[in-house]
């Protein structure tokens, strides 16, 4: 669905943010995009959404060039930015004026999600709190039923119960024809939600793998349970030393995304080498 090939991007030609970046994303997955502050997560999403144009290389989404922003491409995409603008309309008015641009927009689904998120239906959108506005946009983005849904830091501004509702709603919204990309720096918000992980670090995609594939190759455990195995990465945690070791026994362990992310960004090549 999304193909980036040798993509170069920079706000000036002298200082590139991405250099020869290549990435392929498919339908039927929820991708978590992780990276440190300033790594270029939002910029990468904007390149995919056609809001920023690469200097060089290929960016293709469902056969469209995003930078052309053709209506046929835009109706397949819904982009929820970190900070959004909503007009002085009620949710129903907004759905009426904007929903029909998306051929598969489902007004019933939109209303149900607003009820689930407990968003007041009679309030003007621009008067709602930041968190409530985010919920409206998430509900609208899901109801638009586009094949590509991009969310940049969607959990920022959501309270704890809303984060849990968000995870539940997103997980139920995935179909085999849909690709969802969620960028965040709050790794725990993606727990039990994403099935594939992308890590952007130092101008490159250093990891693009399904959680199952990661779990096949790595075991996330504590140092007390090492049983003589060599640790690829260790980190002090509240309950002891958290450890990543090679999965040589084909055992299953839940991927500790925060630990894995820390291992990658601390330039620990033994983990990334093992995942290759």
């Amino acid at each position: 669905m999304i193909k980036l090939n040798n993509l170069n991007f920079g706000y000036s030609k002298k200082k590139l943010l991405f250099k020869n970046l290549s990435l392929t994303l498919s339908e039927g997955h929820i991708y978590g995009l992780l990276g440190k502050n300033g790594a270029g997560k939002s910029t990468l999403l904007k390149n995919i959404a056609g809001l920023a144009f690469p200097i060089d290389g290929v960016c293709s989404v469902k056969g469209f060039m995003p930078s052309q922003r053709l209506p046929g491409f835009l109706r397949e995409l819904f982009f929820i930015p970190e900070e959004m603008y909503l007009p002085s309309l009620t949710p129903a008015q907004f759905a009426k004026s904007t929903g029909h641009f998306y051929p598969n927009f489902d007004i019933g689904h939109f209303n149900n999600m607003l009820n689930e998120f407990e968003v007041p239906l009679d309030s003007k959108l621009n008067k709602l709190s930041f968190g409530q506005q985010k919920k409206v946009m998430i509900a609208f983005g899901l109801a638009a039923n586009t094949s590509l849904l991009i969310m940049d830091e969607p959990t920022n501004g959501l309270d704890i119960p809303s984060k849990s509702q968000f995870r539940k709603i997103i997980a139920s919204a995935l179909t085999e024809h849909r690709c969802i990309i969620i960028s965040t720096h709050q790794v725990r918000d993606l727990d039990s939600l994403i099935d594939s992980l992308i890590v952007l670090h130092r101008q490159e995609i250093v990891l693009n793998s399904s959680l199952d594939a990661i779990s096949d190759k790595l075991t996330f455990t504590s140092s007390a349970q090492l049983n003589g195995k060599k640790a690829l990465y260790t980190e002090d945690g509240l309950g002891g030393i958290n450890t990543i070791v090679a999965n040589t026994e084909e055992s299953y362990s839940k991927v500790d995304m925060e630990l894995l992310f820390n291992a990658i960004i601390t330039e620990n090549t033994s983990v990334t080498d093992h995942l290759k």
Partner: protein, 259 residues
């Protein structure tokens, strides 16, 4: 699906633009009416001649040009706001449709509202005014009179509209001031370069030269204007070419807008 223009999609976009902005537009329109009432009402009150057709002309030209330029300079100003720009640029409609909505509002709808409103305000003021001595010919300004040639203001409006529209996409904030500044610099530069060029091709005796206009040559202690037959047509064509160039350039600027 036509990726450049679809009437149904354009209509939806037009309705959405109206729904999103009608409060601001109505308020702006109310302010415009208020300015016309207060300024022309004041003149009608202090001037013993009342609000004659002759008095109406400078008000019409000044408010038409100024209000039109200010309104046009904000028509795409949302593109300078990152949050608003994302919602505009990712909305499933073509760049041409998005451009056309702004163009129709600022060029067509503005004029369709302003001109009748101006006459309405004049009629109301004249009805309320104690001076009723106008002959039928003098009561209302004739836009198409060959004597006063007020219709030339439409050329000026089109030219300033094109400049203001370009500024509304090009600049991120303070659109009107920045556009006006660049416009004035451009006018001075064009006048200077035009003068230098004319002096280069006519080595001596250039008295006056206006871009797209006539040349005055010093002769026998005075200045003689060099008149080319139908030169006003060439001037109008030159202005039209600049207007079309600026409108086109605005469209491509919108198309290439990044956030």
């Amino acid at each position: 699906m036509n990726q450049t223009f679809n009437l149904n999609r354009f209509s939806k976009l037009f309705v959405k633009h109206t729904a999103d902005n009608y409060k601001t537009y109505l308020m702006s329109f109310a302010v415009l009416l208020g300015v016309l009432f207060i300024s022309m009402g004041f003149i009608a009150y202090v001037d013993n001649n009342g609000l004659s057709a002759r008095t109406q002309i400078p008000f019409f030209i000044f408010v038409y040009i100024l209000a039109g330029s200010i309104f046009t300079s904000i028509i795409f100003s949302d593109l300078g706001n990152k949050r608003k720009a994302i919602s505009i640029l990712t909305l499933p409609a073509s760049h041409f449709e998005k451009y056309l909505v702004g163009w129709v509002y600022s060029f067509v709808i503005f004029q369709l509202l302003f001109i009748p409103s101006f006459y309405l305000v004049v009629i109301i003021i004249q009805t309320l005014s104690p001076i009723k001595e106008f002959s039928n010919d003098e009561k209302l300004m004739d836009l198409f009179s060959e004597k006063q040639k007020v219709y030339f203001v439409f050329y000026l409006f089109a030219a300033l509209h094109a400049v203001a529209l370009w500024g509304s996409v090009f600049f991120k904030k303070h659109h009107f001031i920045k556009t006006a500044f660049v416009f004035l610099i451009g006018v001075f530069a064009l006048s200077y370069l035009n003068n230098q060029f004319i002096q280069f091709i006519i080595s001596e005796g250039v008295g006056t030269s206006t871009p797209f206009g006539r040349i005055g040559v010093r002769e026998n202690g005075g200045i003689t204007m060099v008149v080319i037959k139908n030169d006003y047509i060439y001037s109008a064509l030159a202005v039209a070419a600049v207007v079309i160039l600026m409108w086109t350039s605005t469209f491509f600027r919108l198309k290439e807008k990044e956030v």
